[in-house]
Symmetry: C2
Subunit: 356 residues, 2 copies
Amino acid sequence: MREIGVEELRYLARGAAILGAGGGGDPYIGRLVAEQALREHGPVLAVEPHEVPDDALVAGIGMIGAPTVMVEKLPSGTEAVTAFRTLQRELGRPITHVLPIEVGGMNSLAPFPVAAALGLPVLDADCMGRAFPMVQMVVCTLDGVPAKPLAVADEKGNSVVLDVLDNHWAERLARSAAVRMGCTAVLCSFPMSGAQARGTVIPRTLTRAARLGRLVEQARRDHADPCAAVADHLGGRVLFTGKVAGVLRENDPGFARGEALLEGSGAHDGSRFRLAFQNEHLVATLDDVVVASVPDLICVLEADGEPVPGERLRYGQRVVVVGAPCHPRWRTPEGLALVGPSAFGYPHGYEPLGPA
Amino acid sequence: MREIGVEELRYLARGAAILGAGGGGDPYIGRLVAEQALREHGPVLAVEPHEVPDDALVAGIGMIGAPTVMVEKLPSGTEAVTAFRTLQRELGRPITHVLPIEVGGMNSLAPFPVAAALGLPVLDADCMGRAFPMVQMVVCTLDGVPAKPLAVADEKGNSVVLDVLDNHWAERLARSAAVRMGCTAVLCSFPMSGAQARGTVIPRTLTRAARLGRLVEQARRDHADPCAAVADHLGGRVLFTGKVAGVLRENDPGFARGEALLEGSGAHDGSRFRLAFQNEHLVATLDDVVVASVPDLICVLEADGEPVPGERLRYGQRVVVVGAPCHPRWRTPEGLALVGPSAFGYPHGYEPLGPA
């Protein structure tokens, strides 16, 4: 149990943007919203899963939609509270703890405005260990914990409560609501007891993100290579160094889908690198050979270790691409069925990524 | 107050298909679902608005989606009860009366399975006096009666509760849910007190539909012209007689949109007639001149007076098109702003349609 204040948010946001693998929304915006809430209401208590009582009522909070849209359509800061209150009313009893659904991009910070405003603790944990684009892509699905009932709210004051057949239907109906709300909205879902939460969530991922964010700063101070430090810390490796030669983007409209083409420099001079993304970076190919793939993390950084959210990728940027292993649960047959290449329609098999 | 049994459903369904102006879903399917419920549970009590107590809790029921999809994707018969129960749970007290949102196509019959199964009376009334394609297109909107909270349910067991800013947002979010549920779903909405209902709904429209259905049968027995009899009874006129030369359809995907081209015969020999539709027939042109337009009714009949639902229009059909005046409330400036030509994006002004 520890307090998270404004100071730590900066590290947390950076580390989460790395773990977000391009997705989860621009952590800069997420940080501003969370910072404002913390300045207004004071620091937020982060508790570890083992500190949560059995009979607690935990709920996950996160943005849903296309991060590209969020570049122009900023959150109002109230939609998370609306989603939370809507779900709480549906459940008929107080939610005692909030939880980031994913530890990626601004979504790691999505529960903070609610926690700060309502004086609730945040779980130092998440349901993915990274960011994935779809609601059902959580360890909760592997453990039979339903997303329902779930609430979706927008910044205008609309809210929706869903009672769904399964977590795949949660994704379909929450996504269609989010699209109609303007391609971004906030989700409050996966209500579970403290005992259930302990049995499914991935612990200490906020701590992990903050540590990663600090490590980048430390490497800079030490005149070390921050990108290599990140790869090393995550047990992965640098996949590519080069320049963005082109980005193809479409809003489909519930996701930011597309492809980025990179041209190599240094050790990769003359090579071509492709990144396919659906909010998160899904597959990386080097000269048409797959070198990293979901569920492993593909993270795009600037040379100084600053993560580049997918929607900020642009022509001419010089970047370093780091690949890192995903949480071990995603490497099981059930995990791969849910979030592996085939779950995204790719024909290639999954090759676990490791250190260089 | 009177009982509606299986016998009357037949007339009601036919009359409602005429008042549906091409939309509201195939009344044949609606009749089968309602008939089965009546055979199982007995007749349904129809009450007039003035018979409803002030403190009654009334809710509207209707299908939402693209009637073209319903040709293949039949309702299960349970989704209306699911939508009803979902809304009732949200309201926290028993709904005492159900009401067709529109008196058109199968939607006039949509409340019957719920009323029969739960032993509730149906209001002999509706909120349009015809069928229109969108949720906000009801007299309730003119009277400031909100659609919210509203429930949408599908035949698979998914349900959604919406809390929305206004009736236009009700349309947007209910439509997107219906689309994701497979382009058809059931809506339970416009919860209102008995006093509110009396002040807004259009009374005795079920009676009107049944009378219209009987009139067609009577005209046939009398060897009279059933289409002329319908036009006469509705205070309208026959707009065109001819053959369907082509139908262009698209699911957009929440509606059945398109255009039908008709070639004249008899008095209209050599003339071309166009029908533009969005579920309901919106605009009719005779040799490129608008001869009827929303909010007035444009009804397509076979020569024997049997109505043709829009989704059943097909090449080669010989049809009679009848135009009829809408309810007077739609001819006010506020009514026209909500359901007139401009509400559907048409540039032409509204010319009230009358008898020949």
